[in-house]
Symmetry: C2
Subunit: 355 residues, 2 copies
């Protein structure tokens, strides 16, 4: 007894000395994604984040990732995180435009910022505050969750030479970009991802927009459509981590910082992975299907799209003061950011292209 | 006594149950920077990294950051990390070109990759392996430490209209870019940062290269030189975290992952901060000094620079097989990456510029 007592006193003393402020609380969280567990690189953002959190906490803070194939609610992520069935979600902010139109700005908008500009706006231009303000009513916190960079404008069976060529065109394109195309006479439809290839192949649709080479290649669109248009509609699609606010506030400070840090690292990694996937996939597509033509919409068409987009944004701004506030914040920031983009990153590529 | 015994047993049981694998080891590290503690955003990368590590470990793993104003050895960081006086360093890989010429590739090289391409190369194109191979002999690990993006080509008192205008020009420009300019007849000098403003003002030098608007504005060059040239020489200057290998290997797995994750998050944050600082500073410069002219070197001059740069790279490659290996890896990767950059990020800015 005496020995046991001495040992246990020593152990207590050791345990207290060795970890005075170390959180060793067991926390078991779940995260629901809008995508299947195999949809890389999107799924890798939460998977890498959870892996880092688990390792950093010595296995005490774990986050189980569930893909849409399991929970069957790809577009229910915000509700499920709000309700607490899942402490976290991984999705895209523009999926919630039916609940609050201002959510689109924290993903991407037609003719908006590129990824560098958007990151600068989030962290140094007031964007994070505006995002939290928008998401406050949902009882969740929202964080950047990985950016795709500039998406491609989509696969087309026919060349678009004028606005007239868009009239009656059947196209799968979601979100605000779909609304812009609809204003120009496009017959915009939504078709589940699993049916897209067949729809394009059989002529149920004439065109579709997906992401970029890295993700498009797995869908096989390059085998059946010859025109690959450059983008204007999603210049920097930022995915999103959602965190239930009460669950977050209950975390010890150590775990809060682990979560924030791991989300940021995983977000940066996903952008890099998507960029790397795209350049590899593009090389492969061009090698296997050398007839693919990269096209940019004619200036006249882009001008009409821009006009339609500006009109749409003005309509929403007139209806919703928060939308107006975020729109004006983004527009003002883009104006000064773009001047810098043009003389730095853009000018360098231009110099190299012309050498 | 009996009460005390029972309490301590319970506490031991709790401590053991609650933190079975949690590292609570006290680790006290020091990091030496090549810059002063106030040189933002560079200094913020290690400062933010250390803050995250300390918070995540509940204060058990701390890294004290020392600026060059304290250790007085701005260019001794690699030696001090190798020797273990400091467990970590924050510097720029091209500072070590005198020790090993291949180190330049892990920072930036003239006419090289932009930041997105370089990140993709590091993590998906074999760059990290080549970096570790290069640094192995120094007994250190090297990690990306924050990128400045495309740097500006520098401040000039006179317009450069031809290669002839470069002959005899006195310019402060370090590194490989300095060697390229020297080949074109420039009188390349190195002057300590604190004396640069006066040297440019008094005509001791005719031109100088620094970073970009965010950092240049604090030096005041825009007040005394009218021409601000766009860049070609440092398209994606990546700073560097150095870690003493033995110190790293002694860390518990939890702390290793904290370090890796916090470095990655801080690296992403520094790029964003530098971008945001630059767009703000550029707006301010242009407002206060509307006569500043942004210039791009004439095509003929750029072509001569490229020829000189290619020649220089070929000379080093002939002398050093590792240099040749890394050069060829970067060239092959850049070739396929640039095609993607051109049809995605670059094309989008071009579209917007022409609308």
């Amino acid at each position: 007894m005496k020995l046991a007592f001495r040992i246990s006193t020593a152990m207590v003393a050791f345990a207290l000395l060795a970890s005075p402020a170390m959180a060793a609380e067991k926390v078991r969280w779940k995260l629901a994604m809008s995508w299947s567990s195999t949809l890389t690189p999107f799924a890798n953002a939460p998977l890498n984040m959870a892996k880092a959190v688990e390792e950093m906490s010595g296995g005490n803070f774990t986050i189980r990732i569930e893909g849409a194939e399991k929970h069957k609610a790809a577009l229910g992520i915000l509700d499920m995180t709000k309700g607490g069935q899942y402490e976290m979600g991984h999705s895209a902010s523009y999926y919630w435009k039916g609940k609050d139109i201002s959510t689109v700005f924290f993903c991407t908008v037609p003719f908006g910022m590129n990824a560098d500009e958007q990151n600068a706006w989030f962290y140094h231009g007031g964007g994070m505050d505006l995002m939290q303000k928008t998401y406050e009513k949902f009882n969740v916190l929202s964080f950047p969750g990985g950016n795709t960079g500039a998406q491609m404008g989509g696969w087309f069976q026919k060349e678009i030479k004028s606005v007239d060529d868009l009239k009656g065109l059947k196209m799968r394109i979601p979100g605000l970009a779909g609304e812009v195309f609809a204003k120009l006479g496009v017959n915009v439809t939504n078709i589940p991802p699993g049916e897209l290839y067949t729809a394009l192949d059989r002529g149920t649709i004439d065109a579709l927009e997906w992401v970029g080479p890295g993700m498009d290649i797995k869908m096989g669109f390059h085998k059946i459509a010859p025109y690959y248009y450059t983008g204007w509609h999603e210049p920097a699609t930022e995915l999103q981590f959602l965190v239930n606010k009460e669950a977050y506030e209950k975390l010890p400070q150590e775990y809060k910082t682990m979560l924030i840090t791991a989300m940021k690292a995983a977000t940066a990694d996903m952008f890099i992975e998507n960029f790397a996937d795209s350049l590899d996939a593009w090389e492969q597509m061009k090698t296997e299907f050398p007839n693919i033509k990269v096209m940019t919409f004619p200036k006249e068409v882009l001008q009409e799209m821009k006009k339609a987009s500006d009109g749409l944004m003005a309509e929403y701004a007139a209806q919703d003061p928060t939308f107006k506030e975020v729109l004006e914040s983004q527009q003002a920031y883009t104006k000064k950011a773009r001047v810098w983009t043009e003389i730095s990153e853009y000018e360098y590529i231009k110099i190299m292209q012309e050498l």
